[in-house]
Symmetry: C2
Subunit: 480 residues, 2 copies
C-alpha cells in the first residue's frame, strides 16, 4: 500500500511539537518515546504499520480542541483513533502525524429513558453504552462484532453496523447528535436529542466521514427498550449458493428478522473449534433471529421455516433456551477471532443487492480458484453486507500482494452488480485506491470539496478514503 | 418578512436570459409573461408573494443541467420548486430569480421488488410513488398530509415526514440515492440502491438541504411490503395536557405504534364539518394506529388501551372496518385544509422531546391568551413534531405581524425545552431569522461553508434557511 513520504520538516520539529502538546495536556497524556509509540503503529488491519510522531490521550473536548489548534498551527497531520479496531486501516498513522486517541474519554454525560437517549464521551466502548442502560431495560442497537472493544468514536467514523442492523439500522440511524471539534480547534454542536434540526444536515455528513472532517468528542445516541424476547434458528444448507438464495427469498417475502447471518464451512469449522457454539455440520449456515412475544416469534419462525424448507436444508434447529441463544451468538461474534487463530486473513466489506448473493458467492469461489487463495465467508446476509475473509500466509513472500489483488477483484465485482465498496468498515486505506471504481471524477470532486471546507490544509487522517492520485495534488496546493 | 432587493442589473437583462433559456428548452417550457408567472409567485405559505423573473419546466436531467449552467454564467438566482406545497416558503421566488419547476419530470425509471427500491424523476408526486407499486403489495412510507400533490423533489428538499413516520422514519430514512445537478451544471450521482457507500455521505447532506446545494432530478427510494393489517383507535381526552401525557406514556412503555396523531377541539370541529370523519366530541383526540396480524394488533391495542385508561379518557373507540379506518385518516389528512376553509392560519413545525408535550401545550395556551390569537393543534405527537396552527385574519392590519411574533415565541419555546425549529417542513423563509436561536455562530458558519462549496455564488434558493444578517455579507463578497 503506497503511502506519501512523511514531511522531513515536521519530523525535525518533533521535540518542539511535543513540548507544545505537553503545555496543554498532563505529561502522561502525551506519548512520544519510540518504544511506547509502538502501541499506536497500526489498528486491526495489521498488515500495514507505521509508528506516529506522537500520540495524545486527552480527557475532555477542551483538551481535544487545544491539541487540534496546535497541530493546525504547526501544520502537523492528526490521525483520530477510537479503540484501534478498524479493519480498513482507518487509524493507520503516518510517521509525521499525531495520533489523537479518545480512549480516556469514556464518561456517560446524560441519560434520559423518557426521551430515549444517552449522551456519552466517544471513547466509551460500544458494549458499555448498552451496559449503562440495560438494567433499566434498554439497549443501544448497533452491535459490531468488536463491540466489547470498539469505541463509539470509531463507530461514528465508520458508520458501523452489526448483526442486528437488519432491523435496527446502522450507526447513522441511531445517532442523534455530536460535538465536533474542527481542525482549527473550534467546537460545533450538531443535532441533539430532538428529531431533526433546520439547516444543512451535518450530522449525516459527519457520520461515516472517517475522521476527515473533525474529531467527534461527545455523542447523543438513541437507546431502545429491550424486546420482549428473541430466538435464533440455525438453518444448514448444502452449498453457499443455496443459502444465498434462501436469504434473498426471506427478504422478498417481507418478514423482517432482526438478523440474518451467513457462515460457510471454513468459518463454521474454525468457530466450532474456538467457541463450541454447536453449529450443524454443513456447507453453509444461516443464523436467523426474530424478536417479539412468544406468539410473534413462533409466527415469524413459521414463515421462515417454510421458505427454508423449499431450499432442501440439511438441518433446521431453533434455539431451545437463552443459554443456547447466547452460545450461538458468541460463536458468530468470535468468528473473525477464530479464523485469526488458524490463518492470516484479509477481511473485505463489500455490499451487494441481496438478490445478487448466490451469483456473487459463486464468483468468489471462482476467484478463489483462480488466485489459489482460500476464502471463508461470514457476514450480515440480510442486508447484503458481505465479509469474505481471504486466507493467506503473511510470512510468505508475495502472498499479501496476491491477497490485495484478489480483494480488489471481489470489491470491483460488488460494485459491478450494483453494490458498493463498504458496508460498515469504511474505506480507510484499504479501499482508498478503489474509490474510482465506484465514483466518477465529479462525484469524488464533490466529496473532496466538502473535505476542503472542514480541513483546508488536509491535515486530518491523511491518505485515507480518497485515492492518493487525487489527494496528493490537492495536499500540495493546500500546503503552499 | 424582509427580502433582499432584487438586482436591477438582472431585471434589465430579463429578455436575454429568457432567450438563452429558450435556446435549451422547448418554447412551452419557458414561462416569462407576467400574467403566467403569477402561478409561481408563492407556495403554500401564501402570506408572502413575489413573481419571479421567469419559470422553466424542464423534462430531463440534461435540461436541468443546461438551465443551471446558463443561470450560473448569467449570475441569475434559481429557486427550485417541486409542487409548490411548502408551508415554510421554501420555494418563494425573488423578483430576479428563475423558478426551476420539476413538475413535468414524473416518470418511473426503474422498479425492483426483489431489492425493494423504485427510481423516479423527482417531479413525481409522493402518493403516485406508492401508486406505482401498490398493486404488487408495496408502498413508499413517508406520507405528508399533502401527499396527493407534493413532489418527491420537495420531500427530499425538506426531509418530509408524515403521520406514519413514527415507525418508518422520515424521507432521509427512505432515500437511497439521488442524481444532483450542481449550480454549474455538473451532474453527480450520490448513493444508490445499495445500502451504504464509501467516502463522505453527501446523501444525508443533500436530504433536507432545501434547494441550497443543487437540484435533485432523480431519486432512488426504498419501498416496503404492505403490512398484513393495520387498525387505528380513537382516544378522546378532557384536555390537551392529559392527551400529551398519554402520548409520552405510550412512548415510554416501549410499544411502537405506526402513528400517534393529536388533534385539539378546534381541529376536530373543523375536520368533522369538512370530512365527517366520525371523531368523538372531546377537547383532545389521539389517533393511534398499530400494524401487524390481527393477533399482534389486538395485543398492541391492549397495552395502549390500558395506558390510555390511566388518563381518564372520554372515549376509546377502535376502528371496526377498513372503511372506518380510511375515513379516520382522510379526516386527519384534510385537517389543514379544513382549518383553511374557516380561517387564515400560520402552520408551525417545531419539534420537542415527547416528555415536554404537556408543558409545551400548556405554554402555547398561555401565549394564545397573551397575543389574543386562537391556536389549533394537529400534529404527529409520537415523535414530538408539533404543528400549532395560529389563526388570524389576513385582511386585518397588523394581524400577520402579530401572528409571526407569536409563532417565533412558540418556536423559541421548542428550542428552549430541548427541541428544534422544524420537524419536516424545513426552515424556508419562515424560520430563517430564528436559526440563531438554535445554532451558535460557529455552528451556522460550518453549515454555510458547506453551502459555499456547492454554490459559491450563493445563487441557489436565495434568502432561505440562513438569516439575512449572515448571508447578505457573504452574498456581496461572492458577487464581487
Amino acid at each position: 500500500m503506497q503511502m506519501p513520504d512523511p514531511s522531513a520538516a515536521i519530523l525535525s520539529r518533533k521535540s518542539s511539537v511535543v513540548r507544545r502538546l505537553q503545555g496543554v495536556l498532563d505529561d502522561d497524556s502525551v506519548i512520544h518515546e519510540e518504544n511506547e509509540l509502538r502501541a499506536y503503529e497500526c489498528d486491526a488491519l495489521t498488515a500495514y504499520k507505521c509508528p506516529p510522531l506522537a500520540a495524545v490521550l486527552p480527557r475532555t473536548t477542551e483538551e481535544v480542541a487545544a491539541v487540534l489548534a496546535i497541530c493546525h498551527e504547526e501544520g502537523v497531520p492528526v490521525v483520530p483513533r477510537g479503540a484501534g479496531t478498524s479493519l480498513a486501516g482507518g487509524s493507520l498513522p503516518s510517521a509525521d502525524s499525531v495520533i489523537l486517541g479518545v480512549a480516556r474519554m469514556n464518561e456517560v454525560i446524560e441519560t434520559s429513558y423518557d426521551d430515549r437517549f444517552i449522551r456519552v464521551q466517544t471513547g466509551r466502548t460500544n458494549l458499555s453504552v448498552t451496559g449503562a442502560v440495560e438494567e433499566d431495560g434498554f439497549f443501544y442497537a448497533p452491535d459490531p462484532s468488536s463491540q466489547l472493544a470498539c469505541a463509539i468514536a470509531g463507530n461514528i467514523a465508520m458508520n458501523s453496523g452489526g448483526a442486528h442492523c437488519l432491523k435496527y439500522g446502522v450507526t447513522t440511524n441511531n445517532l442523534l447528535g455530536v460535538t465536533l471539534v474542527q481542525m482549527d480547534g473550534t467546537v460545533v454542536e450538531i443535532g441533539g436529542a430532538h428529531m431533526d434540526a433546520g439547516g444543512l444536515d451535518l450530522l449525516g455528513l459527519v457520520c461515516g466521514s472517517e475522521g476527515q472532517l473533525g474529531v467527534v468528542t461527545e455523542a447523543t445516541l438513541r437507546i431502545l427498550p429491550k424486546p420482549e424476547g428473541a430466538r435464533p434458528v440455525l438453518i444448514g444448507f448444502s452449498s453457499n449458493e443455496v443459502a444465498g438464495q434462501c436469504v434473498s427469498d426471506i427478504i422478498k417475502a417481507g418478514v423482517l428478522p432482526v438478523a440474518i447471518e451467513f457462515m460457510d464451512r471454513p468459518c463454521i469449522r474454525a468457530t466450532e473449534a474456538f467457541a463450541g457454539a454447536g453449529y450443524p455440520d454443513c456447507e453453509a449456515l444461516l443464523i436467523v433471529e426474530v424478536e417479539g412475544s412468544d406468539a410473534e416469534i413462533d409466527e415469524q419462525l413459521g414463515v421462515i421455516g417454510q421458505i427454508a424448507r423449499g431450499h432442501d436444508p440439511v438441518e433446521i434447529r431453533e434455539s431451545q433456551s437463552a443459554e443456547e441463544s447466547a452460545r450461538i451468538w458468541l460463536g458468530r461474534k468470535s468468528a473473525f477471532g477464530a479464523m485469526g487463530q488458524i490463518n492470516d486473513y484479509m477481511c473485505l466489506d463489500g455490499t451487494i443487492p441481496v438478490t445478487e448473493l448466490p451469483k456473487v458467492l459463486g464468483r468468489i469461489r471462482e476467484l478463489s480458484d483462480q488466485y489459489g487463495l482460500d476464502v471463508a465467508n461470514v457476514f450480515h446476509a440480510g442486508d447484503g453486507n458481505m465479509h469474505p475473509l481471504i486466507l493467506f500466509n503473511a510470512n510468505e513472500e508475495g502472498q499479501l500482494e496476491k491477497c490485495e489483488a484478489m480483494g480488489a477483484d471481489i470489491l470491483r465485482l460488488c460494485v459491478e452488480v450494483g453494490g458498493c465498496l463498504t458496508g460498515e468498515h469504511g474505506v480507510g486505506i484499504e479501499k482508498r485506491d478503489l474509490m474510482e471504481t465506484q465514483f466518477a471524477p465529479d462525484d469524488l470532486e464533490a466529496q473532496m470539496r466538502v473535505k476542503d471546507v472542514f480541513d483546508p490544509k488536509w491535515l486530518l487522517n491523511p491518505a485515507k478514503v480518497f485515492p492518493l492520485s487525487v489527494t496528493e495534488p490537492r495536499r500540495a496546493i493546500a500546503a503552499e
